[in-house]
């Protein structure tokens, strides 16, 4: 019978003493980070779970915790106040939470192009250098190296999906649910040939890939075929600039696609505008949907889209960080919040004509 997994087993395998292993789990100072890393890694592999001691006696220190909020964006583009940016609501939710729970939050913007904590925009944050934070909130995607470095120092919560080798706590919208709401609506209206379109971004755009994968999943669930020709700018070989993608979408629409699911609102507005310029009307000729719930441009119709609950994401993010800082519920979690479908004016019933006929159907 397999040996029971306990600290002794880990100690034996790594040729260290039981004491060392114990100290790793109890977060004692004076343990070589390398050793600690080995221990945690093996522990995970063996499935050892270090359970917090039952009787939570007199914990809860009273000094208010300090947290840092890092926003990975150019200061210029962030400061623009012309339209309500998503970030605004995120921060609102976050500070709402910190106020309610009597926490201190320091907000800083950092340069997206910098890759280590010693680079200027990080170095100039004194409180970070002095390790005075009990946790960090990351807003928008960060370079993987930064996430990993921070993760070793303090609890980290990211407010969008981070793609990283090490597990990261994160709070995000439920992309699957949003796409499912959209596709079910389209399906109810009789759409069967539904395409998916996105722009090409750098490698940070996990959300676009995630929404595409949700599209694949939900199409399958609805019993609809995914025609690779109707999926634009997702495959590794596709590298269309927006105009090319729009043109391609127009072509595919002439071949019978009756609805386009775009990975983001701004893409959808771009597509609608392009269609308009080429005499294709939304939603009369083709339906278009987005994802985000940003405010619509003046010229555009109200978009049918999934609205991301930014405010709540901020709130829940704060709460999760507080939990982590108190060492409760340690391993990485990914919290996805529900979103709502906003019924706009850009979807209509599937046009029976285009669903069955060829290139000449719309012109």
């Amino acid at each position: 019978m397999a040996k029971r997994v306990n600290q002794q087993l880990i100690a034996d395998k790594l040729q260290v003493s039981r004491a060392t292993v114990s100290r790793c789990f109890t977060n004692h100072p004076g343990i070589n980070p390398e050793t600690r890393g080995k221990v945690f890694k093996l522990a995970a592999a063996l499935g050892y779970n270090h359970l917090e001691p039952r009787t939570g006696k007199g914990r809860r220190k009273s000094s208010p915790n300090r947290y840092g909020v890092l926003i990975c964006t150019d200061v210029e583009s962030y400061e623009s106040t012309d339209y309500q940016s998503p970030g605004e609501n995120l921060i609102a939710g976050l500070s709402e939470f910190s106020q309610l729970n009597n926490l201190l939050m320091e907000i800083h913007c950092v340069d997206p192009s910098e890759k280590t904590l010693t680079d200027p925009s990080y170095a100039k944050i004194e409180t970070l250098g002095r390790r005075e934070w009990d946790g960090v909130v990351l807003v928008y995607p960060f370079p993987e190296t930064i996430v990993d470095e921070l993760n070793l120092q303090v609890p980290v919560v990211s407010l969008v999906e981070q793609y990283s080798g090490t597990p990261v706590n994160c709070v995000d919208v439920d992309h699957h649910r949003g796409i499912a709401l959209i596709l079910r609506r389209l399906s109810d209206l009789g759409h069967k040939r539904i395409g998916f379109m996105t722009h090409r971004y750098g490698f940070d755009a996990n959300w676009a890939l995630r929404r595409h994968s949700a599209y694949v999943e939900e199409m399958t669930r609805l019993g609809l075929m995914v025609d690779p020709a109707n999926v634009l700018n997702v495959r590794p070989t596709d590298r269309l600039v927006p105009e090319e993608a729009y043109a391609k979408a127009l072509e595919r629409t002439r071949y019978g696609v009756t609805a386009w699911v775009c990975a983001a609102d701004h893409q959808a507005y771009g597509l609608i505008s392009f269609f308009q310029q080429h005499g294709v009307k939304t939603p009369a000729d083709v339906s278009v949907t987005g994802f985000d719930g940003i405010e619509k441009p003046d010229w555009a119709p109200e978009l049918t889209t999934a609205v991301i609950p930014y405010y709540e994401i901020g709130q829940i993010g704060g709460r999760r960080l507080e939990d982590l800082a108190q060492k409760r519920f340690g391993s990485a979690q990914h919290v996805m919040l529900d979103c709502t479908l906003r019924e706009g004016e850009t979807v209509g019933p599937a046009t029976s004509g285009s669903a069955t006929s060829g290139p000449a159907a719309i012109n």
Copy 2:
């Protein structure tokens, strides 16, 4: 004939003392959560209900909340205690949480084929009928009708993804992360032509679709093409029984697929066995991976797979329910927990031969 169900019976079946069983039901501290999990699980299967007989004494402190735990499964398949089933760890985590927070949890098994709360296996749960619960935990997928009915009455947390029109709180493994870990490992070993296989289940198997969508996403991220011919039993039109799927996988392997990602461990074991019977060796000729982390059959090699943290899922689920019952953080959340990659003996480097040549490559 069937013995009367009492604590002694449970104790005997689990080879522990009756004292231990008693302590489980009375929420004593100092009981191994794993043991408690086993006890509760078996109790549910046997239909034992510990209804506190002595209410007279002044022993109740601040009237603890009562929660129901419903397990949607056949009692027979659930009762077997031979090997450590996933459910056991789920319950263990759940009861650990309820012990720590002084909650009462009642566990019941219900019949998966019943679709409304008035059906027998629900009707016979008196405390449910009397609306005495402050919340319900659902284990395994339930019929949508049941989920919706319960959702109207009390806070509900599901311990696997539920596919439902109304938003449902749920705690699950991060399927995307698990598949990503597996695919990155395969990619590191030089695999490029990687297939995906699943069995066909009823419409409850959201996890299979979700894992497939994760496969699509991660393949794309790695810059690998998804060849529809190497994706088995996902499209609406595919309805292969396991043997057919295995045969198809064998054929595709001869055409150059070097690794198969299966949606679940038992599928992977089936595939490996089939390959073996047809002279294809794992991992020498082809790599195979799973998902779940169940214990391996005796005949099989240790599978490379993503291990689901059942224990933690139970814990976090309990916590989420408690939050909901106290009206905190209302809107539906989907919490996904990180999983770990278990390195087994079923993946190896991509065989350079088969990756480049045709049907004759393996024989």
